[in-house]
Symmetry: C2
Subunit: 454 residues, 2 copies
Amino acid sequence: MGEHHLVIGGNAAGMTAASRAKRLSPSLAVTVLEASRHISYSICGLPYWLSGRVPRFDDLVYFTPESLQNERGIAARLQTRAVELLPSRRSVVVEDLGSGRKEVLRYDKLLIATGYQPASLDVEGVDAKGVFTVSRIEDGQAISDWLDSGRAQQAVLVGGGYVGLEMAEALRGRGLQVALVEKSAAIFPAIDPDMASLLQSELEANSVRVFTGRTVGRIVTRSDGTVSGVELAGGHQLQADLVLMDIGVKPRVDLVQGSDIRLGGSGAIAVSERMETSVPSIYAAGNCAETVHLVTGRPGFDPLGTVAAKQGRVAGENMAGRVSYFRGAVSTTAVKVFGLAAARTGLTTEEADREGFQVVEARVEGRFQASYFGGKPSTVKILADSVSRRLLGAQIVGSELASVRIDVVATALAARMTVDEATQLDLAYAPPVGTLWSPLLIAMNLLQRRMDGR
Amino acid sequence: MGEHHLVIGGNAAGMTAASRAKRLSPSLAVTVLEASRHISYSICGLPYWLSGRVPRFDDLVYFTPESLQNERGIAARLQTRAVELLPSRRSVVVEDLGSGRKEVLRYDKLLIATGYQPASLDVEGVDAKGVFTVSRIEDGQAISDWLDSGRAQQAVLVGGGYVGLEMAEALRGRGLQVALVEKSAAIFPAIDPDMASLLQSELEANSVRVFTGRTVGRIVTRSDGTVSGVELAGGHQLQADLVLMDIGVKPRVDLVQGSDIRLGGSGAIAVSERMETSVPSIYAAGNCAETVHLVTGRPGFDPLGTVAAKQGRVAGENMAGRVSYFRGAVSTTAVKVFGLAAARTGLTTEEADREGFQVVEARVEGRFQASYFGGKPSTVKILADSVSRRLLGAQIVGSELASVRIDVVATALAARMTVDEATQLDLAYAPPVGTLWSPLLIAMNLLQRRMDGR
C-alpha cells in the first residue's frame, strides 16, 4: 500500500503541492483538508466578481472536490479544520466544522499550508453587520449578499493596500460612494510615498475620498446592529453602510503554536530550502511559511499567491521523494486601480534604508510605447546600493504595458545584477510595444550617473 | 583648444555617441557627417507614417542640424559622405553630395557609424519605377510620393522580415492589395517556423497573400519604365504597381575596405569592448560594427537600433576619455502585425542547433492576463541547452502584453541563468496584468521536466 500524505489548506500552496506530489508519485494517497467551503479559489479575483467583470462566482473556483478527485485523484475534505498536531504519532486531529466531530488522521508526510489571516481592528463596533474583512472566498459572498440587499450606498475602506485599492474600484463600479482611510501618511505602502501619490490622485480622480494619516476610533452602529459609520480618531465621522477592513495580514500559525515546529523571526513557519519544517516529515509552504528575500538574503513573511504556488510546487516534489529547492523571492507584486497600474519588486527606499543599504535612486518619466501608439508617460523608480552597485528594487506606476516591465528588474534582482550590467540589458523594441530606449534603461543610466557622481 | 571628434553617420549609434561624448566633455568639438538629408530619424517609424498613424513626417525626425547645434552644441553636415580614411594623418576625405566637392577633415577621434545597407536583388527590372528598398528615410518619402500619386493599387513585398510584415499592414491600411513573397519555407526567420506560422495566419486573415519558398525571377516593367508585376521563379506572375524589397541587410563598410581597420568574421567591423577598431583612435558602433552575442559568446552582425544606441553610448564615453565597456547583446527584437505581436530573444532552434547546443524546447499556450480582462492565449517557446541547463532563447507570439515579457528571458540570458533558476522567477501578478502562473513559468517548468526526462 502506498503512503498517505495530508495537506492542510486547499489553496495556492496546498493545491499545487498536492497536485505535484500526486503527479510525480501516482501511488500516493493525497488528502487536502480545507476549513472553508471551497478549495482552489482565486481570492485575487474577488474584487472583479463583485464589480461584475467576472461573471459567475464559480469562475473564481478552479476545482471542486469532485473535479479534483476525478481529474487529479486527490481527495479533499471541506469545512474540515486541523486542530491539533500529533507529530510523534504522525497524526493530526481534525474537526468537521459542520458536525463538530473530531477525528484523528494519520499521515506519512504532512504539509501545512494554512495561509494568512487578516489582522482585525480592536475598536468598538467591529462586529456590526456590514463590517467585513476580505481574506476568504466566503467573505466575498457575504459582501456580495450585503450589496445585493441594496443596503449599501456608502462604503468606507479601512486600509489602503491591494484589497483597499481594488475594492475601491469595484465598489465605485457598483455605484457606491467610497472613502478610504489609511493610517500611514501615504496609501499603498508596498511602494514609496512619492510613487503612491500617483495612485492616490487616480483614486481621487475617480471620486474616492482618501484620508491618510488617520486611524479608526470606532465603528458606529445602528440599534439593529448594522453599521452606520466610521468615526476617525480625533472625531471626524464618515457615513458608512459597508465597511471593509484590510489592515494587514499575519501568518495563520495557531496550529503549530506549542508544537516543536519552529517559527522564524517573522512569525511565519521556518522552513528549509526543501520547504521542510524543524519537525521531520512535516513541510510548510505558502503564506504561513517564511520566504527568503533574495535581495536581503534573509527569510521573512511575504504573503503572495505567486510565491505560495512556487513553494507548494517545491514542497510537493520533496514530499514525492524528489530533491527540490526553493531559492526565494523578491517581493514582486502588481495592482491596478481604475486607469493606473502599479508594480514593485525588491525593496522600497524605506525597506532598503532599514536594511542598511546605501541607497541611490533614480526616478524617470517615460513611455514604454511610442506616443503615436497611445503610449502615455509612466513613472519608473529604480534603487541600487552604492557600495556593491547591486540593484535593490524598482517601482513602476503607469500603463499596464509599463507595469509588467517590473519583471525585468525582478529577474535582474534574482541574478544579483549590478546597475552597470543592467544599463546594457537587451530589451525588445518595436514602435507598437516599446521605445528605442526603454524607460527602464533610461532610469538605469541615470542611476549609474548618480552613483558615479556625474 | 579642445579636441575635435568626427562621427560618420547621424543615426542611433552616431547620434548617441556624439551626444554622450559632448555631454561628458563639453569642450570637445563634435561634428556628425551624414550622407542623407536627415539625421536622427526613426526608420522603424516609417511604416507607421506611411499608414498615417504617425501624422507628420517631421515626427519621425528627432533633431535637425539646427536643433542639434542649439540643444547639444553638436555640428551636423548633411549630404556629406566620408569617402576615404587617412588614418596616418588622422583625417577623412569627405564629399559634399550636392556640389561634388571634396574636402579633408581632421579628427582627434573618429567614430564610424555607417549602419547597414540593404541587399539588392540581382534580377531584371529592379531599377523600374515603383520598386523600392526601405533602409533610409528618403526611401519612405519616395514610397509615400508613389502612393500619393495614386498609381499603386497592388503591392508585392519581397522578403518576410520586419519591414515586409510592417509594410504589409501599412499598405493594407492604405487600401492596397498586398502579396508577400518569401524565399524560405516560412516567413519571418527571426523566429522558428512553427511560431512564424501564427504570423502568416494573421497576415492571411487580413487578406495578405503569402507565398513562401518562392524567389523572384524578374520584375516586369511597362514601356514607360514603371513596374507592372513580379514574376516568381518558375513562372507565376503577380501584378504589382509597387514593389518593396527587404531581402536582408549587410554592414555598410565600403569606407573601411582597403584600410587597416579589421573586419570580423561576420563582415562587420571588429571592435574591442570599448568599441575601438584595430586602428587607434578610430571607433565603430552600431550596425556596421560587430556585437558579441551573450549566448554564444562570439561576435556577429546583429543590426538592431537598440544595440546600436547602447554601443554608441559606450563609444561616446570612451571617446570622451572615460573607460566604458559594451558587454554584448542577445538579439532581442519584436514586431507587431495587425492584431498579433511577436518577440524573440537569444537563439532560435535553428540557430542553437547550428551552434552545437543540445537543444530542448518547450512550447505552451497560455494567458498573460486573466481571461475576464480580455487575456487571449499567447504562445511561448523557450529553449535550453540540456548539457549546461542554461537558457538559450525564447519566442512569444500573441498579445502586446504577452510579447513584452520577452524582456524577462532577455534579462535571464544576460545573467546566464539556468532553466532551474528561471522556474522560480518572481514575476508580478494581479488579474488585470498577469496570471498566478505566468506562461513563461509554465514553459520553464515544462522545459525542466523535459530535461529531466519526466
